[in-house]
Every structure is written in structure tokens, then in C-alpha cells.
Point group: C2
Chain length 431, copies 2
């Protein structure tokens, strides 16, 4: 625990400060306190926010949470304590003895010797109410407070674990991480959905572009990864992407995160599908093992049944159907549909979320690309892309996964706005 | 190695494909081939780009690199081989036997049985020339090819390792990772340096804002981390930040990466300084241990002397001077200077790079903040920030580190444009 180390060791910086004479109570995170084996009265200090207060005849029970885990630490205090400021939501520092709890509900509890209220919380005005299970939609109005609820706390801890798991997966598999650019001059992928940018106050003088050319927010790092796969063979990126789409759907955001990978010397879709399946399964297994309580909370209160569906996905090979088979199935589903035939491409569709992964092999034939670019009048702008096929070209392919959709998929969260800390969508940019 | 696993296991998807009758050559990355202990003629396959060709009377020597390491694998072939297309920069697939090398220059070499040219490379037009050490400034013109040189290859592999090391440091220290938003409506931090954005084609109708309010690219995730530290105690972010500054300096970019952290229940600068020092040292030690050859290349060819300076930084405690002392030193340096007194703030300055870290304790006094916001007419817009001090407020503080400056600092790279894959600065947005 860094916090502990900081507090204990910070004294070395102050050349004039003497070392403390009495050993101070060790500062622990709630997670570490809860995980203490054989607690037998060690003096510790915890800091956090009050999640519940319950007064009995002779004792006062508090639950204190610091966000390090879903579970709070039970604090037991003498009922003689002045408890006027011990409100739900207040921040406190508690010193006392960590002991084995007599109750079966928890392993340990903190026998308080000193409780200091750091910041009070006026229950009347606080939008999060004690003991109330607020709908996710209600909480969305308060991006600065919803992270203090159990459910958003769990989701954001899972998001953090999943982020780490994805980085680990690629690193362990020999991929080089690339920060593909956020600002780009590539504008060919459907200009209507792009955000354009200029220095504030200069928006009305487009002839004086900051970058000399019109600049946009990226919609995908694919082209830049293609550059890098020509040097490092296996590369990935994990960053924000943008769509200026006027969609309020439960599956779209104006700002969302994508994991994208590109692999050189690949010549079959099977290679890509294998990486996709491994990425999904390795990441999910890691999340399940690192924060089982958080995942369980989501499965229990948000999406009953999701746990079984997820286990089914993890235990079985992903079902692969060919394009021809997919068309057959759609035809039999007696609905009108239009489609554009695509070859050497792959999508991963999951129930409830739809398209989770999309990928494919890239066109490597120089003359074919050259002709298509010429027809669109883009030869000059994309000469660099053509050049990749002129100098040491290789067959390559890759895929992208929407990170928020991934979280929706494993947790069963219906609305994408609830799996990102600060959602951005049309008409809304809170904070 | 994922690549190997993919290729070997991909067959299981194709229900109609029989298992291959002959064991194919195992596909290895160059790094794995070089790391093979006791090579004794195993049949392997490697894929990569030719870095050198040398023809002798009876044998032909190639060096093949796939970006997995700085070092290339030496391939030895019969000189009778048709070598017309074996050019510097061409991509090849080589099958053969991995054997102990008779030369002392390398441990192993690949005795080629089959060399297949995958993509040729016309030396005449290729901007990277064989055996030439191009200046970094020249290479900047070719962001799509410079990653194939030794020096940029090393820098970008180091960047990838440093990214992973920073994530690990915070994770191991109990921090929750937060994706702070890229698009934000906060515009108070000096509007002249902000990029503003709107859907492409709508830039001229600002009254119809996509988000209902003017939207900007973030200059810092600090305020959003302050929100999250009120729930998770210790949080960090690692993402892109932006400045629309008209600066061509060797230390500024329009798009750069920042590592920012925020910690609750902190009440002294010493706590923050401790984390800063630990982050710097832990990350650097990890980078040095994971890619020593890459770091050595930079220290040798880019910045002789940097190795000693870095070792000095790692071995010693960071020097801490008070504000008063700093002012004294500046006064004695007989230069005119202006300064604004700041309290409870900390900067880490390093030779050659200048400010690497900046941080401080945050103002937590509600009435003080309220008064300042009221004076600036910002009370309404920042009511949410005030609210953080009304409901369970805690003392907290944090810091930010510029990632590119960090890389400049440890590697001794003079120009910031050379430590990011696709630099963005005024008048330039290549690719």
C-alpha cells in the first residue's frame, strides 16, 4: 500500500523534523483491513466515507468505505460518542483496534478509540440518499457523486481492472503498445460523423488552420497501427475515439474507448479470430478473478441471468459462421434486409450488445488500392498509405473492440452511459 | 508468443480442414529466436524485414528484424540463391535450422533452407537508406517509415514498456485507473490555449452546439480526478492532453500524454513528493530492466553522458528545496525574474527538460473557493466542484507528469517530436 508507505516514510524529507517517538497507528486501506488474517487488536487507522450508521443501546455501528473495495469496514464505537456529525456521506478518520468480529457477517471489525469527522455531509441536500437504491438513470445526473454508490463504484473498479488486464494480455503476447494520434488530418471515413477542431476563438476563420490542414478527432487508430505493424509486427492501441453522431442510443457515445490491434504476416481470418477470442476470454477471466464481488453485484442487481450467459461464453468456443451461412440465416428470418457483401472481414456479435469486435484482412495489392484512391481523388492525401505497400509490404490484418460495449457485455449493463466515468453524447457534456 | 499459438492453433476453427500431417516449422519472433538456449538445429520460421545484406564467396548473410527487439537475426544462405530481390527493407519469410553461431557476434543464427520475399523494397525510392545514420530531423518527415529505423524502433519500444510500467506502478499501489474525459466543457484554464470542437461542417454555427455548450479538448484531467478521489481515495489517469499553443519549441506539442494522480486524505506536500519520486524511480528501473539494449542505443548515439546522469538520479534522493530557498537562489543568479508566489505546490525540475512534474494540495475550504468563483462569475458552472467540498470533503492533492518529457529525460532525446509516434504541432499534422 502506497498510502501507508507515504505516510510512514514521508518524514525523511523534512530535514528538521525529528523521527516520531511513538509508533503511529498504521494507516490501512479498507481492503487491506478487511483482508487482515488473524486480527488480534493491532492499532490501525482508516480513512473513508460513512456508508451506514446504526445506533443501538450501548454501541454505535458505522460502515466506512474508501473505494478500495465494495465491502465496507464495520466500526464499533461506544454509544456515548457524540455522533451528531456521523452522517451518511461524511468523511471520517477512525483509529482503533482491528479485531476478529463476533458476527458472522464479517471477519474483522474496527473497535474505535477515536473517530474524527473530516468533512460533514448534509443529508438533506446530498443527492445520494441513505439506504436508497437509486435507478442508474437518476444517478447519471450526478457524475461527481454517483461514483460513491455501490454500483458505480463496482463498475468503475471493474473498468480499471479490465484496462489493466487488456494491457497485460497484449504485453504478454509480444505486442508493442502504440499511442495512435487523437488529432488527425484523415477525413475520409464519412465526414458527417467527425468532430473538427480549431483553437478556441478561431473557429470562424477556417482558412487559417492551426495545423495548415483541417484537423479532426480520430474515429479509429487503424491506419496508424498499419504503419506501426510494418515495423513491430504486432501492435495495439487502447484509447479514445469519437463520433459526432446524433445518436441517443443505449449503445453509442460521442467519446468512447477502443482497443485496436494490427498484426503483420497474417493471412487468414482464423488468425485474427483466435486473437479476438483469446483477448475476450483472458481479459474476462482476469476481471472475474480480481474483483469477484464487484462483478457479482452487477450480475445480481443489474442483470440477473448474465452470470450464466457469461460462463457459457467463457466455456465454449465462439461460434463461427461464414458470410454465406449468415446470409442464409437472415434470408430465413423472413425480414427484408439490405447488405453489402464484404470479404475477408469478421465481426463478433454478442447478445444484448450487438457488434463487439470488427476486423479484417487489409488490402495489400498496390495497384488495386491505387486505382480506388485515384477514383476517389485521394491519391495525394494517401500517398503515404500507398507507400506502405511499395516498400516491404506484408499481408496484415487487425480488429477493434469497443471497450464500453465489452463492459456492457460482461456485466449486463443496459446503457453505455453507465460504464464510463463521464459520458459524452448529444446535448450532454456534464463536468 | 501469440503469433505462434495463433498459427498453430488456428486450424481448429476450420471444421473441414484436416490436421496437417507434417509438423510445420515453428514460427518464432526474432526476439524468441535470439533468446533460444542451446540451439541445435530446430526447424523454425521467421518473418521480418531485411536490415542488411552481405554477399561473400560462398555464403550470403542477411539480417532480419521484425521489431520485437533491437537486435536482428543473422540468416546464412547459400550464395547460389537468387538474391536479386533480397534488398534492404524487403519483407521476407525464412525457414531453416536455428543453430549455434560460429561467430562471437551472436549466439545463434538461422541456416536458411528457404527464403521467400514477401514484399520488395525499391532502394532508390525508399527514404531510409541502407547503412546511413539519418538525423532525427530528417526522419521526422517520414512518420510512416522512421519506426523501421533502429533509433525510433528503440524509442517506441521503450515508450511501450514505460506505459506498461506506469500502469503497473499505480495498480500495485492500490490506485484505481480512471479514463478522464477528452471532451470537456470546462474552459476556464486560459481559453486562448484550448482547442474547441464541433461536428465537421457545423463549425460556423456555434449557436447550435453539439453538446449544447461549447466543448473543448482537455488540458488536464485534474478536476475529474478530484471527483473520483472522493470515491476511490487513490486514482490516476494516463491519457492525451492538448494545448493550442503556437509553440515550435523542442519541449512542446499540441497533443501530448500526461500521467496524473490524485490522492485523498493527504495533507502534506511530502506525501506527494514521495509518490512522485517512487513513480519516477520504479518506472525507470522497470524500463532499464526490460529493454536495456534499446536504452543503451539511445544513451550511446543520442546522448552520451545521459547514462551517468540517470544513474545519479536513481541512486540519490531527489533534492528538495523550499520556495524561499528557490527564490534566494534565483535572486543570487543576478537575472531579472518575475514570479507569482504559490503555496503548497511542488514542481520537479530535471536538467535538460525543465518541469517534469507539477503538483500540489488542493483548496478545500468551501467559502474561500466560493468567493473566488463568485468573483470570476463562475459559481454556476463550477457548482459541482463546490459541491465536492460540501459533501464529505477531504484534504487531497495530486500531480501530473508529462510522459514525453519523462522519455526525453531518461533517454536524453533533445526534441519532444522524436519520442511520440505521430507528433502534432503548429503547421504539422502528418498522417
Amino acid at each position: 500500500m502506497l498510502g501507508v508507505r507515504c505516510l510512514l516514510r514521508s518524514v525523511r524529507f523534512c530535514s528538521s523534523a525529528p523521527f516520531p517517538k511513538h509508533k503511529p497507528s498504521a494507516k490501512l486501506s479498507v481492503r487491506d483491513a478487511l483482508g487482515a488474517q488473524n486480527a488480534s487488536g493491532e492499532r490501525i487507522k482508516i480513512q473513508g466515507w460513512i456508508r451506514s450508521v446504526r445506533s443501538q443501546k450501548e454501541v454505535l455501528f458505522l460502515h466506512v468505505n474508501d473505494g478500495s473495495s465494495l465491502e465496507s469496514l464495520q466500526v464499533v464505537a461506544d454509544s456515548g460518542l457524540d455522533s451528531r456529525e456521523l452522517n451518511f456521506g461524511s468523511s471520517v478518520e477512525v483509529q482503533g483496534q482491528l479485531i476478529k468480529s463476533p458476527s458472522k457477517r464479517q471477519n474483522v471489525e474496527l473497535k474505535a478509540e477515536k473517530i474524527k469527522v473530516i468533512g460533514n455531509c448534509d443529508a438533506k441536500d446530498f443527492p445520494i440518499k441513505y439506504k436508497e437504491r437509486h435507478p442508474l438513470e437518476y444517478l447519471r445526473q450526478y457524475p461527481h457523486f454517483r461514483c460513491r454508490t455501490n454500483v458505480l463504484g463496482s463498475i468503475l473498479r471493474i473498468r480499471s481492472e479490465a484496462t489493466a488486464a487488456i494491457h497485460s494480455f497484449f504485453k504478454d503476447s509480444g505486442f508493442v503498445h502504440i499511442h495512435t494520434p487523437i488529432i488527425t488530418s484523415n477525413d475520409s471515413e464519412g465526414a458527417g460523423e467527425l468532430f473538427q477542431l480549431e483553437p478556441s476563438g478561431k473557429l470562424k476563420v477556417p482558412e487559417e488552420n492551426f495545423f495548415n490542414v483541417p484537423a479532426f478527432l480520430t474515429v479509429s487508430g487503424q491506419l496508424h497501427l498499419e504503419v506501426m505493424s510494418g515495423a513491430f509486427t504486432q501492435v495495439f492501441t487502447f484509447g479514445p475515439t469519437f463520433r459526432a453522431e446524433n445518436s441517443q442510443s443505449r449503445r453509442h457515445l460521442a467519446e468512447f474507448y477502443m482497443i485496436e490491434a494490427e498484426i503483420s504476416f497474417v493471412d487468414s481470418l482464423q488468425d485474427l479470430m483466435q486473437v479476438i477470442e483469446e483477448l475476450f476470454k483472458a481479459t474476462t477471466m482476469m476481471v472475474l478473478s480480481k474483483c469477484p464481488e464487484d462483478v457479482e453485484l452487477c450480475h445480481k442487481f443489474i442483470a440477473p441471468g448474465q452470470k450464466d450467459r457469461l460462463e457459457h461464453m467463457l466455456k465454449n468456443n465462439f461460434l463461427i459462421i461464414s458470410y454465406t451461412e449468415a446470409v442464409e440465416i437472415l434470408k430465413q428470418a423472413s425480414q427484408n434486409f439490405t447488405f453489402t457483401p464484404e470479404v475477408a472481414a469478421v465481426d463478433l456479435l454478442v447478445p444484448g450488445v450487438g457488434e463487439l469486435f470488427g476486423g479484417g484482412l487489409r488490402e495489400e495489392r498496390y495497384h488495386f488500392l491505387e486505382e480506388r484512391l485515384a477514383r476517389s481523388g485521394l491519391t495525394e492525401v494517401y500517398q503515404w498509405y500507398l507507400d506502405l505497400r511499395r516498400f516491404g509490404s506484408v499481408p496484415h490484418g487487425g480488429f477493434g473492440m469497443g471497450f464500453e460495449r465489452y463492459l456492457q457485455c460482461i456485466l449486463g449493463v443496459d446503457n453505455i452511459k453507465d460504464v464510463i466515468p463521464f459520458p459524452r453524447f448529444p446535448h450532454s457534456c456534464l463536468l
